[in-house]
């Protein structure tokens, strides 16, 4: 009797499932019609919703839409414009920045926005010492409240690009009543004062943003934005094709963009990116302690092949660590020249009979599926000299980062912290910073250039521009790192979506997304 029951239960469950299969037909579209909801897909992840500790591209993009800073980048440009501060003054010695705040604003929890809140937020970064704290603590000595709506940042030393730092998220004012003063709040949905408020967040699944009724500027085009988190780029592509999402942000596979361009229901939008790929040489480790070897690799590497074969045209060849389109960029590195590479290798004591044997390290998941192709193309290009033998070595990211300093030649990528050439050069080639990235490059001349550019009076003046051009020229001679490619920004969206504005700052402006 019991056995019979077992079968009936099994059968009943099967029927329920079968009914589900047949009765619940009908695909779901992302569009709701009224109220304009935009559904975004991404394969990125939110790591930490606390601006005092978050330090990754996607989380900063969420902040960009939910948490304004005193100054921010004007969409579509790399120019700063007033944000939560209406204006600012700089003292003559360049060590004091006084910001005049917008009045009458409040945080989503109702706490008023004022100079005390700004000071409290910066003091909190000092106390927490989170991952991006250096953007504040390396530069700011302390913050003073001048009056309710005036706040003064006193710097340790004059730094001409301080306004650019203020536009980064460790500087974002947060509500003193919503965040703990000395603890990281990784799952906090309090947000700051932004276009949107976080309505709901389920880690790695979904984040729902609703328009902030107290936002001081133009209201966002879509009243609600839903961000869906995908584990797999192919699934995200299929979700875009069947209308489950309206926009696929970072990142689809490079081949997907070419395919999707042929689909009349999908548009692929291309914009300038500021992410770069490069090779790091450990200047302390043989054979890369020999400048001739580094130079030879620079002449032998085939950037166009990397772009064509590995990135399917979604990157461009890059001949400087300062990305194209950024103020002061020059094409400092020479074009590919195998004969010159061979000459340099011969000068360094290598030949076809006695080839240079080197390990090229790469990491399989951190930079996506294309990375093995990048490594293979670099290997093929170097071996074309007939005088280099490359062994490809790979390690997972956790291992890879642990090996900085013990790898001689390895692939890395860079996203900007702030939109200034200093951010693309100083961390790799300054004597007091290069060992952290595993390059160990040291040059008195380069250090002098850095000091000069950091203390120049005019951030975008001719004097500073000349210094950066010199830095890039010296870079091509000493080759502490070797720039390879610069990524384009690519967004795929349903054809009825409008308002996608891409700029080198790279954070997507959800508040401009709209659909017909």
């Amino acid at each position: 009797m019991y056995k019979r029951k077992f079968f009936f239960v099994l059968l009943a469950l099967a029927v329920v499932l079968a009914v589900g299969l047949t009765a619940c037909g009908g695909g779901k579209q992302a569009s709701t019609g009224a109220g304009k909801t935009i559904v975004i897909g991404t394969t990125d992840k939110v790591t930490d919703l606390d601006p005092a500790n978050a330090y990754d591209f996607h989380t900063w993009e969420i902040f960009h839409n939910t948490m304004d800073t005193l100054l921010h980048y004007k969409p579509g440009t790399t120019d700063l414009e007033p944000g939560l501060a209406e204006s600012y003054d700089v003292s003559d010695d360049g060590k004091e920045y006084t910001f005049h705040l917008r009045q009458g604003l409040k945080f989503p929890d109702g706490t008023p926005f004022n100079a005390e809140a700004v000071k409290w937020s910066i003091d909190r970064v000092f106390k927490i010492q989170g991952d991006p704290n250096w953007l504040v603590t390396s530069f700011v000595d302390h913050v003073e409240v001048v009056d309710d709506y005036t706040v003064k940042f006193v710097l340790k030393d004059a730094v001409n690009y301080f306004p650019l730092l203020v536009a980064t998220y460790p500087y974002a004012p947060v509500s003193p009543k919503c965040y703990p003063a000395d603890q990281i709040a990784s799952d906090s949905t309090c947000g700051g004062i932004g276009h949107y408020k976080i309505e709901k967040w389920t880690r790695d699944v979904e984040m729902d943003l609703v328009a902030n009724p107290d936002w001081y500027g133009d209201p966002p085009k879509a009243g609600k934005v839903i961000v869906k988190y995908f584990a797999d780029a192919t699934t995200m592509r299929l979700a875009l094709e069947n209308g489950e999402i309206d926009i696929a942000l970072k990142s689809l596979n490079p081949t997907d963009y070419a395919d999707l361009e042929k689909n009349p229901d999908i548009q692929v939008i291309e914009g300038p990116g500021a992410q770069i790929r490069y090779i790091v040489f450990n200047s302390d480790m043989a054979p890369f302690d020999n400048k001739l070897v580094r130079e030879a690799v620079a002449y032998a590497v085939d950037r166009q092949a990397i772009v064509d074969k590995a990135f399917q045209g979604t990157h461009e060849p890059l001949y400087s660590m300062v990305p194209m389109g950024m103020w002061s960029h020059i094409d400092a590195f020479p074009k590919r020249d195998l004969n010159k590479a061979k000459e340099l290798l011969q000068e360094a004591g290598y030949s076809a009979d006695k080839p240079l044997e080197i390990d090229l390290w790469w990491t399989p998941t951190h930079y996506g599926d294309t990375e093995s192709d990048v490594a293979s193309v670099v290997k093929a290009a170097l071996e074309e000299t007939g005088m280099i033998k490359v062994n490809l070595q790979s390690a997972e990211w956790a291992t890879y980062t642990d090996q900085f300093g013990s790898m001689g030649m390895f692939l890395l990528g860079w996203y900007p912290d702030y939109m200034d050439p200093d951010n693309y050069t100083y961390p790799f080639a300054a004597s007091d910073a290069s060992d952290d990235i595993g390059s160990n490059y040291k040059s008195e001349q380069m250090d002098a250039y850095f000091k000069s550019e950091q203390t120049a009076t005019d951030l975008r003046g001719a004097e500073r521009q000349k210094v950066f051009e010199d830095i890039q020229k010296l870079w091509a001679v000493d080759v502490p790192t070797l720039p390879l490619t610069q990524g384009k920004l690519l967004v795929a969206a349903r054809s009825n979506v409008t308002g996608i504005v891409l700029d080198p700052v790279m954070a997507n402006h959800y508040f401009l997304f709209d659909k017909k």
């Binding site: 930490d48 699944v205 699934t235 209308g243």
Partner: protein
């Protein structure tokens, strides 16, 4: 019954040293493996002093035996610790309980599809031995088992999600549907219990493709297993006797023979269910299903030691519990079995 109780007690007690050995191995292997949980979660090129400071805060600079002792002590108190990376300080237990219902729901639905399709088709093939249907089902069994599960999932997504647009292809519930109130964490069950029919329909729709992918993939084994067991049973004397008594053939095959062929099938199903709980990683990734398998793989890449250890402990307990349950089921299904 008393002997069954003793058997269960002994089996449960044996689980403890098994888990102890497992956690010790996992603890040691993780520490021997290259890779640093701190460096993997912060920007490349962070100063060494900063890294050392975090490592000190997290207790990773203590001698290994001290870390091990502290870990065991916490484990004895059912404390799985806090995460190291990518976010520090979150409760591992909470993280696991957050992800487990999704995996359980998918595994249950998958095993249901397997049971219905695999066992049903296997019994049918045995009943119609050497017919076209038999050969077709045997071929199906081989093909479906040979297909990589993620590819099967992608094909289902393409056909039923993109071309036919019958089912959604990612997640557990639609962005625009309200998730059911939390009771068990199983969306389909919770929406039924709370009478949230919109959420029920939506969560069933989301469950179908991943469950079909997992279930059909595993059904191949069960087609073959059921068929071969059924063929043996159908040759036995009691089947001949049943037929001689004039019992309808359908009842003989699906009532008497199938029941008697169930023991090895249930054993295999128990094992497969345990594997599903622990190993539906590819399906979870393909369908962006926020389950425990995906969580574990992600945390391995971050070298988040406490999360990996915690997930392994949970999986070990689950596998032990399911195999224990299977043993009890034997006695229930076949009264001849004694412990």
């Amino acid at each position: 019954m008393r002997s069954l109780g003793r058997y269960l007690l002994v089996r449960t007690l044996l689980t403890i040293p098994m888990i102890f050995v497992l956690v010790t191995l996992v603890f040691l292997i993780l520490r021997v493996m290259p890779g640093d949980p701190v460096k993997s979660s912060i920007r490349p090129g962070a100063p060494q002093e900063y890294i050392d400071e975090i490592r000190h805060t997290l207790g990773l600079d203590k001698p290994l035996y001290v870390q091990y002792g502290e870990y065991l002590w916490d484990l004895l108190h059912f404390d799985l610790g806090t995460t190291l990376s990518p976010v520090r300080g979150q409760s591992v237990s909470e993280q696991i309980w957050e992800h487990f219902p999704a995996t359980l729901e998918l595994a249950l639905a998958g095993i249901l599809v397997t049971a219905v399709v695999g066992v049903g088709a296997g019994a049918y093939a045995a009943h119609h031995r050497r017919s076209v249907a038999d050969y077709s089902l045997r071929l199906y069994a081989i093909i479906v088992y040979a297909i990589p599960v993620f590819w099967l999932g992608l094909m289902f997504q393409l056909i039923f999600g993109v071309w036919l647009r019958w089912f959604p292809i990612a997640g557990r519930i639609s962005s625009l549907a309200v998730a059911p109130e939390h009771v068990t964490g199983l969306y389909t069950l919770d929406s039924l219990l709370t009478g949230n029919w919109v959420a029920f329909k939506d969560s069933v729709m989301h469950l179908i493709l991943p469950a079909m992918t997992l279930g059909l993939y595993l059904s191949g084994v069960f087609v073959r297993l059921t068929r071969s067991n059924m063929l043996q049973i159908l040759k036995m004397d009691f089947i001949t006797a049943a037929r001689a008594r004039g019992i309808p053939e359908r009842t003989v095959v699906y009532g008497h023979a199938l029941k008697n062929a169930l023991i090895p099938i249930i054993t295999m199903m128990g094992l497969q269910f345990a594997l599903l709980l622990a190993g539906a990683v590819l399906t979870e990734s393909t369908f962006s299903w926020p389950g425990l398998g995906r969580f574990l793989v992600e945390r391995i890449t971050y070298r988040d030691f406490p999360s990996i250890q915690g997930a392994v402990v949970v999986f070990a307990v689950l596998v032990a519990s399911v195999s224990l349950l299977v043993d009890v089921l034997y006695a229930w299904i076949d009264p001849r079995i004694r412990y």
